[in-house]
């Protein structure tokens, strides 16, 4: 789950990381009022869950409250990479001397968190990572020991941070580590961490990704999810514990298991079709979940055919068949459907579906070929 900049910075501040004074506004009037409270010179920052906000014109400096209102009006009317801006963060403007990058993420290959920093922080950090990776200093953190003081010093020295800032930098690194571990983040990033002209360290921007699997122990973070920022079908799918991602094709897919779901998409493409979605109903799915999944697939108007590929293990094929029948009654789909059931209770499942108007397939190859033909208008 992605957090907004303002949410991430609030969490950082709880762990002692200094952030600029500021608040979130949903209207231009509020933005003006916040600017007045902050004394005039502010930065208006769009709060959308994508990168490249600055380059899209979604981050602007206002010299006074009037200008803050004007710029907030513009930014609140924008779309950035297809996402409408619904909120802006109004932050006190800082006088920047240097921009530093500081982040913690999971290094899956090392099976440890990694703390990274660069003296070349700011908007082009991804280019720095690509072109001059030696400018990024990394240190792996033992997850059983946590961040050690010497590691923060090693990073500070590695980015040539002036020694008078090492103490504060150490506190910020520890604060970021606390924010990362106590929030079960998969990424906690300050970019830029600036040295101001009056020689203070300040986290101007923040980004956090939270491990969805850990939200059970963070109800406060789970509440921060911004459902306005995701496709309604994906929100609906999450409610039922279904993994669903909408794609651009026209063959809807319902599969149990993520690997098999991807393989099913691949084979559709191999035979000349285009998958409309990734959908994993998970293990042990019952009739209700299957019906919800079919509704979600058919809510995409591009879908011209649906392919069910169920390999029963924990999941019982007869349960899936019951779900399909329930959904068919409810949704009355107008598109052709191809079903393949293998494994646990497959025979019972096939019998349940024998009366329904569906194409059947024995193998994955046959199922994909039939679905591709059906989507093109011919019934193979």
């Amino acid at each position: 789950m992605k957090l907004h900049e303002y949410q991430s910075k609030q969490i950082f501040a709880q762990y002692g990381v200094p952030i600029p004074k500021g608040r979130v506004a949903a209207t231009a009037g509020e933005a003006r009022q916040i600017a007045e409270e902050l004394g005039g010179r502010v930065v208006i920052k769009s709060q959308v869950l994508v990168g490249g906000r600055g380059k899209a014109g979604g981050i602007r400096l206002a010299k006074n409250p009037e200008e803050a209102e004007e710029l907030a009006t513009q930014i609140l009317g924008m779309e950035i990479k297809g996402l409408p801006v619904r909120k802006v963060l109004v932050d006190e403007a800082a006088n920047i001397k240097q921009e530093i990058y500081l982040g913690i993420t999971n290094d899956r290959a090392a099976r440890k968190p990694v703390l990274m920093a660069s003296a070349a922080g700011g908007v082009d950090i991804e280019e720095v990572a690509r072109e001059t990776p030696e400018k990024i200093i990394r240190v792996h953190i033992d997850p059983l020991l946590g961040l050690r003081d010497y590691q923060a010093r090693y990073i500070a020295a590695g980015i040539d941070l002036p020694r008078e800032h090492w103490r504060d930098f150490g506190k910020i690194a520890h604060g970021l580590w606390q924010a990362y571990t106590r929030s079960d983040a998969t990424l906690a990033e300050i970019n830029p961490l600036v040295i101001t002209k009056d020689e203070r360290l300040l986290a101007l921007d923040g980004k956090m990704l939270i491990d969805d699997n850990a939200l059970f122990r963070h109800p406060d973070l789970a509440e921060m999810r911004d459902v306005d920022e995701e496709a309604p079908a994906e929100t609906e799918a999450r409610k039922y514990g279904i993994s669903y991602i909408q794609l651009d094709g026209n063959i809807g897919c319902m599969v149990n298991g993520a690997g098999l779901a991807m393989a099913t998409m691949d084979i559709i493409k191999l035979f000349g079709g285009e998958p409309a979605n990734f959908l994993d109903i998970g293990g042990g799915a019952g009739a209700e979940k299957v019906a919800a999944a079919l509704r979600i697939i058919l809510s995409d108007p591009n879908v011209k055919a649906v392919l069910f590929n169920i390999f029963g293990g924990i999941t019982r094929c007869d349960e899936v068949a019951k779900g399909i029948l329930t959904a068919l009654e409810e949704v009355k789909p107008q598109v052709p459907m191809v079903v393949r059931l293998v494994g646990t209770n497959a025979e019972e499942g096939r019998q349940l579906l024998s009366e329904a108007d569906m194409l059947t397939a024995e193998t994955l190859t046959e199922a994909a070929q039939k679905a591709v033909a059906a989507a093109k208008g011919g019934q193979a």
Binding site: N106, D266, P275, G313, I314
Partner: protein, 287 residues
Amino acid sequence: MSILVDKNTRLLVQGITGKEGLFHTTQMVAYGTNVVAGVTPGKGGEWVLDGKIPVFDSVKIAVEATGANASVIFVPARFAPDAMYEAADAGIPLIVCITEGIPIQDMMRVRNYLDQKGVRLVGPNCPGLLTPGEAKVGIIPGNIAIPGNVGVVSRSGTLTYEVLYALKQEGMGATTCVGIGGDPVNGTSFIDVLEMFEADPHTEKVVLIGEIGGTDEEKAAAFIASRMTKPVVAFIAGQTAPPGKRMGHAGAIIEGGEGTAAEKIKALEEAGVRVAKHPEEIPSLLK
């Protein structure tokens, strides 16, 4: 012959009285697996499966009473890390964790702890192990595979079933099938299993089933090129997945240009691996 599990495995089931645990214990016993004990804290002294299997309060007590030498974990995600620490501290050398949805920071701590103890972990978020005709540890349906000379290692669950089933349709069987799981931080890797198959005299060919995300397949390719003498056939799921999208498995995320199917397939083919276009093509590539 086989790797990791066989007739002599003395299996303990953690979470044996839960719905999943009990169902799959029944299946494992029906398959012939030697399940010697179960653990559910607070239910020590009970018996399951018509009095055939004793339940204990802790892994330590169960090991002392029954000599269990492997454990399979069916407990929910929020309790699974503790179950793994408990099994490791009780001296169990092989832990198979079926549980999905364990937070990644928990898994980093578990993995680092288990490494220090020298304990082998398979999973989590995996279907477990199947040595056809001898034993199954986990949830792979027993009837979809037959004994044979192919070693199977996979990051996926149901996709593994698809491959075992396709092999069986062609009369081909497996020595052992190892599901290593789809999580970004797990225990046993492709390379660990490839090394075991290379050393196992009964495994003549190997099937590797990977998916997008991470660089484990690329590392496996390097291992195959330098160390494997046995032929390897592979399939990589997610060739059509759009970059940056999470396809259900936490591990299947393309991060910063690494981990695409195209990169993995290229690395494997350069290592002399034949890569199938779809799962049902695998048996013909093994012939």
